[in-house]
């Protein structure tokens, strides 16, 4: 059988998936919900976090006990976080390559970006697929503002949906406008505080870049 037609053929190196979005939208919380789910399905996983001038998010994930601490690398981006995932992703590429070398069976690297505004996006030189996380508390007008992240991401995640009635957000309209500006590309709803909706995010990532099921 040709190697190319081998149904078990595997790529060299892990799939790389970006998680971006504004400060406070729940990127790290989503990460903390994704890690145990991928581990439970047997996916060999590692994480890279991006912070401005600290390793705060990396330390939070390392301390969580969800994943071996050495599988979590931190990139400090300085004042311009989107640069490290878009214009010049050198540091993140180096970190991902380091993880690939350290863990030969690695299947998935989740790369969480430093917080930025609605205009951040990932270079496809760095990731194969990327999520953009917004939350209802940021206002239901976020989708119609047509930020680059909302428009271009492969999967839009609207988080903290449980808060919608408390912050007077019309969630149905927010989702409808997200579908409209994204021309029907996928949008999923989550409450990462409790893990609601996260299984669907895992399935989507697995379907698009893992191809293992």
């Amino acid at each position: 059988m040709s190697a190319q037609l081998n149904p078990h053929a595997r790529p060299r190196g892990a799939a790389r998936v970006g998680i971006g979005g504004p400060v406070g939208s729940g990127k790290t919380a989503l990460l903390e919900q994704l890690i145990p789910r991928f581990m439970a399905r047997g996916t060999d996983i590692a994480v890279i976090t991006n912070d401005l001038v600290t390793a705060e998010d990396a330390e939070r994930v390392r301390r969580s006990g969800l994943i071996a601490p050495e599988r979590v690398l931190a990139v400090e981006t300085g004042a311009c976080p989107h640069t490290a995932i878009r214009e010049d992703p050198t540091l993140n590429l180096a970190a991902a390559d380091e993880l690939d070398r350290a863990y030969p069976g690695l299947e998935l690297i989740l790369i969480e970006s430093g917080g930025d505004n609605l205009a951040s996006s990932f270079s496809l030189d760095l990731v194969d697929y990327w999520l953009f996380v917004i939350d209802v508390a940021g206002g239901d007008d976020i989708p119609r503002k047509r930020g680059l992240g909302v428009l271009q991401c492969d999967l839009l995640v609207i988080n903290k949906v449980d808060l919608a009635p408390h912050v007077r957000v019309n969630l149905d309209r927010m989702v409808s406008e997200a579908h409209e500006v994204r021309l029907g590309r996928p949008t999923l709803l989550t409450n990462c505080a409790h893990g609601d909706g996260v299984d669907a995010v895992v399935e989507r990532i697995a379907q698009e870049v893992l191809f293992d099921r």
Binding site: S2, A3, Q4, L5, N6, P7, A9, R10, P11, R12, G13, A15, R16, C80, H82, T83, E87, D97, A119, S121, S123, L124, D125, D128, Y129, R146, L148, L151, Q152, V181, L183, Q207, E208, V209, F211
Partner: protein, 165 residues
């Protein structure tokens, strides 16, 4: 699902071109149409023009381009075809308008081509989205859309415009 992990050649390689030509007659050449943006992805799920689902899993050092051949078997070939890029062509009505349009395109991270007094903007989404973004310039008459542009000349360069942050 067909799992493809390598670029085995290019449609312009003489021997491959000859094989593909023969295989075309047999109806066993499948094409994957990709946008310029998706061409950058090393791993993605795609569907050929004959409906075959493909899990594309390329090495990090690999780079797709128009004509990359991903499978070349006696009974089937799969190659990549770059979708024709779509452009929005702008003209400015004054030097000030040109400066503002150029600044704005850079600030939006749009990929552009300079063509004399025209600015070609590569469309990576719906044309209407770009027109909405430009509405303030268009409404003031500082820029205008030049309709029905001719196809860009061969060898177009894609320039990432620097921006101020």
């Amino acid at each position: 699902m067909l799992r493809l992990t390598d670029i085995v050649g290019h449609a312009t390689d003489a021997d491959i071109a000859e094989r593909l030509h023969q295989m075309e007659h047999d109806g066993v050449v499948e094409r994957i149409h990709l946008s310029r943006r998706d061409l950058s992805r090393r791993r993605q799920r795609v569907t050929t023009d004959r409906g075959t689902e493909v899990a594309l899993m390329l090495d990090r050092s690999s780079g797709l381009d128009n004509g990359a051949v991903l499978l070349l078997e006696p009974a089937r070939a799969v190659l990549v075809v770059l979708d024709e890029p779509q452009w929005l062509v702008l003209g400015a009505t004054s030097a000030a308008g040109a400066l503002e349009a150029g600044y704005f395109a850079g600030n939006m991270h749009w990929k552009v081509r300079f063509d004399g007094e025209r600015l070609w903007v590569l469309l990576e989404g719906p044309r209407d989205d770009y027109l909405k973004r430009l509405s303030h310039l268009l409404a003031r008459g500082h820029a205008q859309v030049i309709d029905a542009p001719p196809a860009p000349a061969a060898g177009v360069r894609y320039l990432a415009v620097p921006h101020a942050h």
